[in-house]
Amino acid sequence: MEEILEVLENNSRLNCEEIAVMLGKSVEEVKDAIKKLEDEGVIVGYNTLINWEKTDREMVTALIEVKVTPQRGEGFDKVADRIYRFPEVKACYLMSGGFDLTVIVEGKSLKEVASFVAEKLAPLESVLSTSTHFVLKRYKDDGVIFEKKEKDDREAIVL
């Protein structure tokens, strides 16, 4: 049933009937499998990928490198938990290498993100340092290229 994931990852709008046909399974089998995947936390959500740059909404994204002190018995998880619960945080990863956490933050303006870092993130007890990088342009997200040529300009051929 791993193929269900491949299908849904590319298009979460397909309904169970369509998926069942595509995989040569019964609708019931597909429904059960999806339910199971949801229950097990394999499927964690169904989002829409939006290129906000094309809308009027003002938005800035920052990638913040964070160095933290791991806590005894909890490792990095507890610090990460304190950080990723802020709704401004869109993504949070534990990293190998020169710093510990990558925190991706979205805000309406540069000022909003800056104040999040200064007032919420940096003052946390276990946070040693932060380094904030603002995103200037998004070319590709989640495997999707934003400025894609949509027009099919293939010429007719007889074969």
Binding site: E3, E6, V7, N11, L14, E18, V21, M22, L23, G24, R154, A156, I157, V158, L159
Partner: protein, 392 residues
């Protein structure tokens, strides 16, 4: 001088394609869905395109050897062995051509003495008959049947063979029907041919696009290896139609003679595209598997769509075509396609474009997005419901 009188009657008598007129109509239409083109909708995987770009940057802009880059031929030899269990010497038994189509033409021109018979199962790719005629052969058509799932049966083959038969074309997985030949089917054909002096041209361009079981090449039978020319290429499996790289593998004597025509007509396949093809064979197998899984899902979706529209549709297990029977609508293949395009803006190809026995069928390709297929199937169902009502 009347130029028309100067044209060779052989060429003049080749009928123009019946599909062209639909393309002209299609070009004028907005939001029409075309399920007519026999090529992948995927763009060539980026690593392959990047390899092509890199080869240009390095200045690899010269001719290659006539038979193709030895590096590419070696990769082809490796591929043929691990994929289909076929051993070929890259120096003598492999020729890189401009698409698989050139290989078909070269093979027929190398083999045919005017008057020789070439057995062509139909419905099938339009080029076989055209190339056979241009080579001076007499095409002998075997009409494949829906009841046999459009497979070639030993009985039909036996019946078509005469003492003039020089070549048999085995076009599986098949365009336009999507039919495949299983191991058992191929064994039946081997029994018929193994003791005869007939050359087999096995067009296996869709071999990777096999959805049930593994593709079996007739050349994998020792008694058939020598007399079989296997034709394959990069267009379908690697989504590389525009690069024009195909190849032929077979007896050194046949390859050598094909190479003579190739070197006069073509010189060599585009060098840049050959470098891209090397990358395809070395590093793109995951992309091929991904595309095959995706095609398989679309295939099921389309077959289901035609069946839900009430059309008989045998299960195609190869290539990327579905070949439903539309006779129950009371329309001819041509009428069905024209009306479907005008009324519902969906283009499929009449089965008759692939031989007379394609009458009553249409070809639709699922090398199109899932969204397109779902929408097209809705429109086709609406169309069939309406026309069936008119003819009862």
């Amino acid at each position: 001088m009347n130029m028309n009188d100067m044209i060779s009657p052989t060429v003049k008598n080749i009928p123009p394609s019946g599909i062209r007129k639909y393309f002209d109509l299609l070009n004028e239409m907005k939001d029409a869905i075309s399920l007519s083109v026999g090529e992948p909708d995927f763009v060539t995987p980026w690593n392959i395109r990047e390899a092509g770009i890199y080869s240009l940057e390095k200045g690899q802009t010269h001719y290659s050897s006539n038979a193709g880059l030895i590096e590419l031929r070696s990769e082809i030899a490796r591929y043929m062995e691990y994929r289909f269990g076929l051993k070929y010497n890259p120096r003598e038994e492999i020729l890189v051509t401009v698409g698989a189509s050139e290989a078909i033409d070269l093979a027929l021109r190398s083999l045919i003495i005017p008057g020789d018979e070439v057995i062509i199962p139909e419905p099938s790719f339009v080029a076989y008959k055209g190339c056979a005629l241009l080579a001076g052969a007499v095409p002998v058509v075997i009409e494949l049947q829906a009841k046999d799932q459009f497979r070639l049966t030993p009985e039909a083959l036996e019946k078509a063979i005469t003492e003039k038969t020089k070549v048999v074309i085995i076009p599986f997985p098949n365009n336009p029907t999507g039919a495949i030949m299983t191991k058992k089917d191929i064994e039946g054909i081997v029994e018929v041919l193994k003791n005869k002096d007939i050359v087999v041209i096995s067009d296996e361009i869709y071999a990777e696009l096999t959805y049930e079981g593994e593709h079996v090449s007739i050349a994998s039978y020792p008694e058939m290896k020598e007399k079989t020319l296997v034709i394959n290429g990069f267009s379908k499996a690697y989504a590389m139609t525009g690069w024009r790289i195909g190849y032929a593998c077979g007896h050194p004597c046949l390859i050598d003679n094909m190479k003579k025509i190739h070197q006069y007509a073509i010189m060599c396949a585009p060098t840049n595209a050959q470098h891209a093809a090397i990358e395809a064979l070395r590093n793109s197998y995951d992309d091929v598997s991904m595309m095959v899984r995706e095609y398989n899902r679309r295939r099921r979706l389309m077959v289901d769509g035609f069946r839900k529209a009430g059309l008989d549709c045998f299960e195609p297990l190869g290539a990327f075509y579905v070949f439903p029977c539309i006779a129950s609508t009371g329309l001819s293949s041509d009428e069905f396609c024209e009306k479907l395009l005008m009324e519902e803006k969906v283009l499929v190809v009449p089965g008759t474009a692939f031989g007379n026995c394609g009458a009553g069928f249409v070809r639709a390709t699922y090398a199109s997005s899932v969204e397109n297929i779902i929408e097209a199937m809705k429109r086709i169902k609406r169309f069939v419901d309406r026309h069936r009502g008119l003819h009862i």
